[in-house]
């Protein structure tokens, strides 16, 4: 007879008790991703105080110093220096700032825009819904990267421009999911009650539907962070995102590309940072979704 037994109750496994328990918690809760997230926020906020050097200041004499664990590394420059002798650790710290700032501002604006559009599309239905959803389809069909590249050719690079472009291409996800939620909520009794009581459409949407979709919005946002950081890094790498002077991770990898044979860490370190951060956010997003709203699996 099979019975569900918790691993720490199995007599033979007592031996591994503590390890098993740790493994159990690691699998149940996203401990590492949360730690990475808090570290990232902490570093991003306090970068000016934490960074040992000025990220933009370098000198010929400190050029291409390897990270501390390699031969020739110096204790002063923990992650080594780049081709202009700038401290990699400081640059990575400031890079965290940019990655987080872009992701947060885009998600905030895109989330608000997408939520409003999605709520009205779902609640009102009809023509509004049709227009909103066809626009979403159109956006999905546009090759974003190429659009961004073309815009950069005409207007040049800037942080604001990139954020605006990313917002224009990131509200659709929110709109689709929020619309589906609103469709469900609009038939609930309390919405009918509000309508009977004479509440206007705008009031119903913001007072009665918004609280119901809020959780979904947060989950979609957490699922999108990683992608956004990747897109921003890719654009910056291609020279279509942030200007060269900004210590963004994508820009740093592009800098390191030319020195891959002699100073590989210049490209490896910031790329690794992108990888760790994106991986953590993806984990966190998946976990939040599965924990709070498994139905979203199919939709988001």
């Amino acid at each position: 007879m099979l019975k569900m037994v918790k691993t720490d109750q199995l007599p033979g496994l007592d031996y591994f008790g503590a390890l098993e328990k740790a493994w159990y918690y690691f699998r149940k809760y996203p401990i590492i991703p949360v730690a990475v997230f808090f570290l990232l926020v902490f570093v991003a906020v306090f970068a000016p105080m934490l960074a040992p050097f000025d990220p933009a200041q370098g000198s010929i004499r400190t050029r291409h110093i390897p990270p501390i664990w390699l031969e020739g590394g110096s204790a002063q420059h923990f992650l080594g220096t780049d081709s202009l002798g700038r401290d990699m650790l400081s640059r990575v710290m400031y890079g965290a700032r940019i990655a987080l700032m872009v992701a947060v501002s885009v998600l905030f604006a895109g989330g608000i825009l997408g939520t409003i559009i999605g709520m009205f599309a779902g609640y009102l239905g009809g023509l509004v819904d049709e227009i909103a959803m066809r626009t979403v389809d159109l956006l999905l069909a546009m090759p974003f990267l190429l659009v961004a590249l073309t815009v950069v050719i005409v207007f040049g690079q800037s942080l604001t421009q990139m954020i605006i472009l990313l917002i224009l291409f990131s509200w659709d996800n929110f709109a689709r999911v929020v619309r589906a939620e609103s469709l469900r909520i609009r038939n609930d009794a309390y919405v009918d009650a509000a309508r009977v009581a004479g509440a206007s459409d705008i009031r119903i949407v913001f007072r009665h539907i918004l609280p119901g979709v809020f959780g979904v919005v947060l989950i979609v946002a957490s699922l999108r962070v990683g992608q956004l950081i990747l897109i921003e890094a890719t654009l910056s790498f291609l020279g279509a995102g942030l200007p060269k002077s900004v210590p963004a991770w994508g820009v740093m990898v592009a800098d390191g590309q030319d020195w891959i044979t002699t100073a590989w860490w210049v490209a490896a370190v910031p790329g690794f940072m992108i990888f760790v951060v994106v991986m953590s956010f993806n984990f966190l997003g998946d976990w939040l979704r599965d924990y709070f709203d498994p139905r979203l699996r199919q939709r988001a």
Partner: protein, 305 residues
């Protein structure tokens, strides 16, 4: 069925039209469109000639139609950097991109879908963890970084493969693997998800109960039904290759369309970029139609609609 097709084709046409309007408005957005079509070495006569060609003395919609007429006849002006018509350049470079994308696509399909099925069937085993790890890495690592690290390890340190540029078959290995990893990961996840869902269904239980062999249940009963989601994704993947190749070609100095777009960005070459983005729009349309055809083969319900 006809209705379905007409709807899909008209949607794709709308996308293309939108891209063309977008490109057109960008060319006018910086004031005089001659600024984006001619460089600083252009003579006054050239300016005059382009003014007439673009119809700058006419209303905007006539300008758009004039421009669209040129575009349809593959006249995109002259690339500022290469000093040749973009269409000729694209024709030259197209094979390099298509062959790379085709190999990457095959590898994504051959790895993503079988691994997805395996990981769903053997849920919770080592194979499942391996497959999911493969997918997680593919979705979190920036493509350009993976490509650089691959060059560092396999070309610089080990010397097994050429660092970059298009040559023999072994020059395809790294670019194609890097380009295909993310799509393979996405296919794997979606195949796994839909397989898990379908393996849970009543008709699978029935098939098993009546004694159908496990392999037939997996491949004939479950897999065929689970294939619809990955096929939809395949269309998106083909479209995403168009942008993925830009990144990969930038890293591997691949002489394809991506390389052309990189040159175009670095040199503010608007006519070139406009040609590329419009061409990609056409590609997208074709990829979508292909998938619609596949749909009808896979899902009889579409045929009945």
């Amino acid at each position: 069925m006809v209705k379905f097709f007409v709807r899909r084709i008209s949607f794709a046409a709308l996308v293309l039209l939108l891209i063309s309007v977008f490109v057109f408005s960008l060319s006018r957005a910086s004031g005089d469109p001659r600024n984006v079509y001619l460089d600083e070495y252009a003579t006054d006569e050239m300016y005059e000639a382009w003014g007439v060609k673009l119809g700058l003395d006419k209303p905007l919609y006539i300008q758009y139609l004039t421009w669209l007429g040129d575009v349809v006849r593959a006249d995109f002006g002259v690339s500022l950097y290469h000093n040749r018509p973009p269409y000729d350049l694209i024709k030259e470079r197209l094979p390099a991109t298509i062959s790379l994308a085709a190999i990457a696509f095959c590898w994504a399909l051959l790895v993503g879908i079988p691994l997805g099925v395996l990981s769903a069937v053997k849920r919770g085993t080592l194979a499942d963890y391996f497959a999911r790890g493969f997918a997680l890495l593919g979705q979190a690592m920036p493509v350009f970084w993976v490509a650089l690290m691959a060059i560092l390890i396999f070309a610089v340190e080990l010397g097994w493969l050429p660092t970059s540029r298009r040559g023999g078959l072994n020059s395809y290995i790294m670019p194609a693997l890097c380009l295909g990893w993310l799509p393979a990961a996405a296919l794997l996840r979606i195949t796994r998800g839909s397989m898990l869902e379908i393996l849970d269904g009543e008709f699978i239980k029935l098939a098993r109960a009546k004694g159908v062999s496990p392999n037939v249940v997996i491949w004939k009963h479950a897999f065929r039904n689970a294939l619809i989601a990955p096929v939809t994704l395949a269309a998106i993947i083909i479209a995403s290759f168009l942008t993925g190749t830009v990144v990969i070609e930038a890293v591997f100095a691949w002489p394809g369309l991506g390389g052309l777009s990189i040159d175009a960005i670095k040199n503010n070459d608007f006519p070139m970029m406009a040609a590329i983005i419009l061409l990609f729009g056409v590609f997208y349309l074709l990829a979508n139609m292909l998938v619609d055809l596949l749909y009808m083969v896979l899902d009889p319900r579409v045929r009945l609609e």
